[in-house]
Assembly symmetry: C2
Homo-oligomer: 484 residues x 2
Amino acid sequence: MIHSYDPRTGEPAGAPFAATTDGEVDAVVLAARAAAPAWRAAERATVLDAVATALEESVEELWRTADAETALGEVRLRGEVARAAGQFRLFAQVLRDGGHVEAVIDHATAEPPMPDLRRMNHPLPGVVGVFAASNFPFAFSVAGGDTASALAAGCPVVVKAHDGHPRTSELSQKIIQSALPDPALLGLVRGLDAGGRLVRHPAVAAVGFTGSIPGGKAVQALIGERPDPIPFYGELGSVNPVVVLPSAGRDGLARGFAASLTLGVGQFCTNPGLLFVPDDVELLTSLSEAVAAAVGGPMLTERIRDGFLHGLARLGKLTSLAEGRAGEGAFAVTPQVFATDLATFAEGLPGLAEECFGPAAVVVTYGDPAELPAVLDRLEGSLTATIHATDPGEAGEVAEVLLRKAGRLIWNGWPTGVAVRWAMHHGGPWPASTAAAHTSVGAAAIRRWLVPTAYQDWPAELLPPELREDNPLGVPRRVDGVLT
Amino acid sequence: MIHSYDPRTGEPAGAPFAATTDGEVDAVVLAARAAAPAWRAAERATVLDAVATALEESVEELWRTADAETALGEVRLRGEVARAAGQFRLFAQVLRDGGHVEAVIDHATAEPPMPDLRRMNHPLPGVVGVFAASNFPFAFSVAGGDTASALAAGCPVVVKAHDGHPRTSELSQKIIQSALPDPALLGLVRGLDAGGRLVRHPAVAAVGFTGSIPGGKAVQALIGERPDPIPFYGELGSVNPVVVLPSAGRDGLARGFAASLTLGVGQFCTNPGLLFVPDDVELLTSLSEAVAAAVGGPMLTERIRDGFLHGLARLGKLTSLAEGRAGEGAFAVTPQVFATDLATFAEGLPGLAEECFGPAAVVVTYGDPAELPAVLDRLEGSLTATIHATDPGEAGEVAEVLLRKAGRLIWNGWPTGVAVRWAMHHGGPWPASTAAAHTSVGAAAIRRWLVPTAYQDWPAELLPPELREDNPLGVPRRVDGVLT
């Protein structure tokens, strides 16, 4: 049985849910597969907009249900429902634009003799398996970006719900299903074993995952057991280094850091876990004061809280720079920031740069910024890397190194907050993600679920409309090498 | 030691080459990595054109060297050098076009508050390892599409040469190096152990491979031993089903099949290994006659010849439809075509649809074309699938199934011959490739070696030119959701 708990009280939140049996997993996956042909032919943009509206109309019930399981609060949860709805709307836009099919036409030529060749993307021929995240009950869970992008691509989805919010998962599924032409297009399974069976199911053509590095490795190992190496898009850990260069403006810097660190009780994959700062007493004092003024809160589950405490113990050999105010609630934790110097940090790598999921960070002081690049070059991949500076000329070499270390580079900002836009890239080198070329947020996320087909001398009657000579859908195309 | 043999005589072709030692592999890879920063900043399009010219200017020496090791003959080998040169020129065009960086700009907005976000692709931060193929000493080897596309992307390359043509590999490397700004950008290693060390080397960021399914699985297993799951782009086996529907024109059909089957002694990944035809005595007779008139020839190596004979033994339980004329040479084989009916074929799956690399095929006769889709649906993935018909209306359901089974669909043609163009897709569902979303031929092949970076509120001075407001390179971009 899967029990969810109220993180504020530590008491069970409602009745438990049964884990999905093997037979039930198979039935859900096969029903999803059977729904695929009609979905590929459906007006998917219209349906995605309807899903968005359905989520928005149920925001009251959604946030209350999620709050009882996550203690994330009304403001955050209303915002997250809006964000989840916004993702469905973005993918409706993507479909109407049509650029995602990447239509390319090369007409036949006589000299050299070349056939007529036309290429476009189609949905993966199978079901997409999605592992929901703990920390976003909406935006990276049943109603999340993996679901939205896979449905947009034309693939049915089966989500392995996160045990931390089973009731929210169920409600999200029902609301989305109410707007889908066939409820089988969005299946839900529960429990670790069911997740394993989902990954191994022959009808599953790709897996999306948001979670921990060990969790991601476990899924990768399951995929290794399959006869066919299906793609695995895992978004795993990230420490998100922030480098404050000497020229950086100090105004609001400490408050900005503390706010980003403690947002959502630090439960973000974009949480700033490493802050490199000049060895400057005034700056360190302001950081210390800002963190001391920050308040902790309950983490999502007892296990996540325990993981955070374990991480703190690992960092405990460092000097404490500041401790925030204790949060309230059964699973509550207190923000913690440690300090060390660049040489000690470098000696302690890679351990000192391991993610500690929650409101904890290491502040690394440096004397000479010229020593930064060599140390930054030893960090593992992250989703983001940030530079604070007023003089771009000062940042050149640091930026050069961080470009190889992170999927998103931020200037004078903070890594939390991932805009759902065309240009977003939410990914990065291992272990930030298992597939650095792909993003789990933004318009390009749809590409994970698409595969190209080339049609050679194919009759016009059998070509998809996107590749017909008259381009009835008006999709962007490259024709004989030229974008049109 | 690695000996190459003249397939016509079975005698060693020149002195043997030493296998690359561990220390040498490391040195080659590290030198390649050190050459990367300057290469990323170089005028790569100009260099790629110079490589193409250098290959063309050495065609005489290249074809003669390759012919002594492969017996593929002057016409084919001259053509293949031209094709290899053409691939470098295509990628020069791709770089000048700039669409491959997929530049996207979303300007900041006040409501909702959104940062300025700009995204583009960069080369993978590391060396690309390439495993050369046996069957294309130029176009899928040292001078092949993986090398050309990875260099175009901005990545140094280290090729594991195929043991079947070591002298051609060395010559190709030297000619290409003569046109590169730094010879370390194209390293070469020899021998199985060296290939393994290459795949496991920390500086290697991705692997391209053209070869057999067992070979591909071995490389995949080596990647599984790495701490980081680098991308593996393997192009493996393929049976390339061809379906002749009742309405198909019979003129030239049998000759076309025999020619495609025996081209290059059947040593193509696009070789038509399965032919579905109406149960029609006249058609079967013409197929039999065309195959009987075809001549065999020496295969590339003794091992490949033995593999072909092994495959023939597996198919030997079927009726022989026709045998071609024996080829001449030490490693020579004879074209062989077997026949069976649809029901027997279906019973013998998956074994009867396994690739037999070389000039062998199974002709499957059917009575009712309505029975085809269910059987075709049981085939594994292929690089290509072909339909012969005059009435497109007859092909609908068969085309629907084949769309899920192959990366390229061909109408009234033959699968051998892969045009190097913008619209080509040379890939397909497992086991045709390890990454169905990617192609190893055509303009899109460059994407395998690229990863995106998003820049948030990044200063103009530090942005790559492709993302600057004034677009100095004139690359295609999507700005605020609109393609420009």
